[in-house]
């Protein structure tokens, strides 16, 4: 189970790192290279995003990566094959991240079944609130997969408890409102928000949106369990290449 894996890792490290890639950006070969580099640099878990042209929760960096990946002609089937291969090659948990229409069109049950076959551990679907998620939750449960839900900065405590009751694995906490990839103020206020998140659930907490360097990760230590790096890795990949992504990951903890 994803939560157990995370807890075991947390017994050895004070903060875990989760990174994100868009599958097929800039092409599939590079995506394999990036995963290998990230795993070798010590990331603890990874989000693999299936490209979608309207990624509602993502900012310009990840949006462009989605659109460029789609322009290469990548298919959902290829994303499954990709996930299967990296899950076979590397011993860390891999999650899918995508938008609900991809699951809906594939067939939610078939999607979950194939995820399990490919060795994925769970999924993050930012536009699917628990209220709309009956079919998804049932399918994920049936196949032993963790549905990861999100706490937003304006999510109140009652709602946090409702959301957490449906989630498993961990809860993804947004460091700020808005989309991915913009500046986040790692301030006392954020610390307060994380304390509220902690009080609302027993599940491990991941913190993402705007995490980009060592200082940010230091700030998160003790307040959340997992630091999530997304857009910054793509920026480094774009500007300095795959090897520099490894350096970025190693510099974080």
């Amino acid at each position: 189970m994803l939560e157990t894996t995370i807890r075991n890792k947390l017994a050895q490290k004070d903060i875990l790192l989760m990174t994100h890639i868009v599958i097929g950006y800039p092409n599939l070969d590079t995506s394999f290279e990036v995963v290998r580099t990230m795993v070798e640099a010590g990331v603890d878990l990874m989000e693999l995003q299936i490209p979608f042209s309207e990624p509602m929760a993502d900012g310009s960096v990840i949006l462009k990566a989605n659109q460029d990946a789609l322009a290469t002609g990548i298919t959902v089937d290829q994303c499954f094959d990709f996930a299967q291969q990296v899950a076979r090659d590397y011993q860390i948990p891999f999650l899918f991240m995508t938008y609900y229409n991809i699951l809906f069109k594939y067939g939610v049950e078939a999607f979950a079944e194939r995820m399990a076959e490919c060795g994925l551990c769970g999924a993050i679907v930012p536009d699917l609130p628990p209220e709309e998620a009956d079919e998804y939750l049932a399918a994920m449960n049936r196949h032993g997969l963790a549905p990861i839900f999100i706490f937003a900065p304006n999510t109140g405590e009652t709602r946090m408890r409702q959301i957490a009751a449906h989630g498993s694995g961990f809860i993804y906490c947004m460091a700020r409102k808005g989309v991915t990839g913009l500046q986040t103020d790692f301030s006392q206020q954020l610390g307060g928000h994380l304390a509220h998140c902690r009080a609302a659930t027993e599940l491990p907490l991941a913190l993402g949106f705007g995490v980009k360097d060592h200082d940010d990760v230091q700030f998160i230590k003790g307040k959340a369990d997992i630091a999530v790096v997304g857009s910054e890795a793509i920026r480094v990949l774009d500007s300095q290449g795959v090897a520099a992504v490894g350096d970025l990951i190693r510099s974080l903890r």
Partner: protein
């Protein structure tokens, strides 16, 4: 289908029209949507709010908008009698002002500071900028650069009205991408801003709320038509982009089984991928921009590129209530292409002296074809959703030489 409209609350408490609608959005926005729903349900019952809105409809918009018997056109065709509901005569030139005033008053009551929205043809943008100026709110309008180039006069009007027009360069640089950009901006600041969606689309409560504000069209038209003819129209025709002007007209007649309804979608250059925006005609159910409905998508669930000569119809989704009305076979969803649309543009201009918006021309064109097939004692009520001032440069540049020989 043995369900009937009467069995289905429209919408239910979660915003569903049958299996369509709902709310598929990140939690940041869900909280705000809940607040908007709550505030809306409150003002819906609030006499002073409704009075304020009705008074603006009358004294500011110029409602009730006229109902006009297009005798010249009807006689020329020699079939059914065509009547036009003149939403083109509204202040700002289209039906969009009906819901923009409602949304702006609601925003003001909720203590919001900035109205944001997408726009395609620019009609919604102009209407919202107008409403914002009137109630004293800031206004940011997101518009694809392709549409900005095509709809110059409306861009200018928005700027004069004090709105900020934000050019959208992502994706296909048209309406769908403007929606994405507006959502992105909304996610950044859902507290001071409110996203005043431009049609009966988006997450709950927008398909319900915008529909409610647009119902005035059908309520007036029903009364005016009965007064003028002593009976109900046999047919209703309206164009369908997101579906707000169509649902505004149809709502008042849904229970009248004798009234046939036609929603006209753009078949553009032809019903081939990327050349049209006939969502209900060729789409399949999916989830886009926060709601479930028919949409034009590929097998993987990616929205397909869309096209229409009318920017305001150029959208791969459609309001969820229309999806239900299609499944129930209560409304016939049909198409009109670019060519017939331009024909109708010139025909109505020259036969009745009314220059219609290219969006509305889709309805006029379909109605002309329908009229030709019907007897002269039959009637067709067309929603003339907007005026064509915004389109004149585009039409003359691209089609002028075919219709206006020197």
């Amino acid at each position: 289908m043995n369900r009937t409209l009467r069995d289905i609350p429209l919408p239910d408490i979660k915003g569903y029209f049958g299996e369509y609608g709902g709310s598929f959005i990140p939690d940041v926005l869900q909280k705000v949507m809940d607040e908007i729903t709550e505030a809306y349900l409150e003002i819906k019952q609030d006499k002073s709010f409704q009075q304020e809105l009705q008074s603006l409809y009358r004294n500011y918009v110029g409602r009730p908008s006229a109902l006009f018997h297009a005798r010249n056109l009807s006689n020329k065709i020699g079939g059914a009698q065509i009547y036009l509901k003149r939403e083109d005569l509204n202040h700002t030139g289209a039906h969009k002002i009906n819901h923009c005033l409602g949304e702006a008053l609601l925003a003001k009551r909720m203590g919001k500071e900035i109205l944001i929205a997408e726009t395609g043809a620019g009609q919604h943008g102009v209407a919202l900028a107008t409403a914002a100026a009137l109630v004293g709110l800031k206004c940011h309008i997101y518009m694809g650069v392709v549409d900005i180039a095509k709809e110059r006069p409306n861009v200018t009007r928005m700027k004069i009205l004090g709105a900020r027009v934000v050019p959208v360069t992502r994706g296909t640089q048209t309406l769908k991408d403007a929606v994405d950009a507006a959502f992105e901006a909304y996610l950044e600041d859902p507290v001071r801003q409110i996203y005043a969606i431009g049609s009966v689309v988006g997450p709950h409560p927008f398909p319900m709320m915008v529909r409610d504000f647009q119902q005035i069209i059908g309520i007036e038209a029903r009364e005016q038509f009965q007064e003028m003819t002593g009976r109900l129209p046999d047919n209703l025709v309206a164009c369908v982009g997101g579906g707000s002007n169509a649902i505004g007209l149809f709502s008042a007649f849904l229970d009248d089984r004798s009234v046939s309804m036609y929603g006209v979608e753009p078949s553009g250059r032809g019903l081939y991928a990327g050349q049209h925006a006939a969502t209900l005609t060729l789409g399949t159910p999916g989830i886009l921009h926060g709601f479930r409905s028919y949409m034009l998508q590929d097998d993987a669930g990616e929205p397909l590129p869309v096209y229409s000569v009318a920017s305001g119809l150029d959208y791969p989704g459609v309001g969820p209530q229309h999806s239900l009305l299609k499944d129930l076979e209560r409304v016939n969803y049909v198409t009109a292409g670019d060519k017939e649309t331009i024909d109708a543009f010139f025909e109505l201009s020259r036969v009745e002296g009314i220059i219609p918006a290219l969006e509305s021309c889709h309805a006029v064109s379909y109605a002309m074809g329908l009229a030709a097939k019907l007897a002269s004692d039959q009637t067709i009520l067309v929603n003339l959703s907007g005026r064509g001032d915004k389109d004149i440069d585009f039409v003359m540049e691209n089609y002028g030489k075919d219709y206006c020989p020197e």
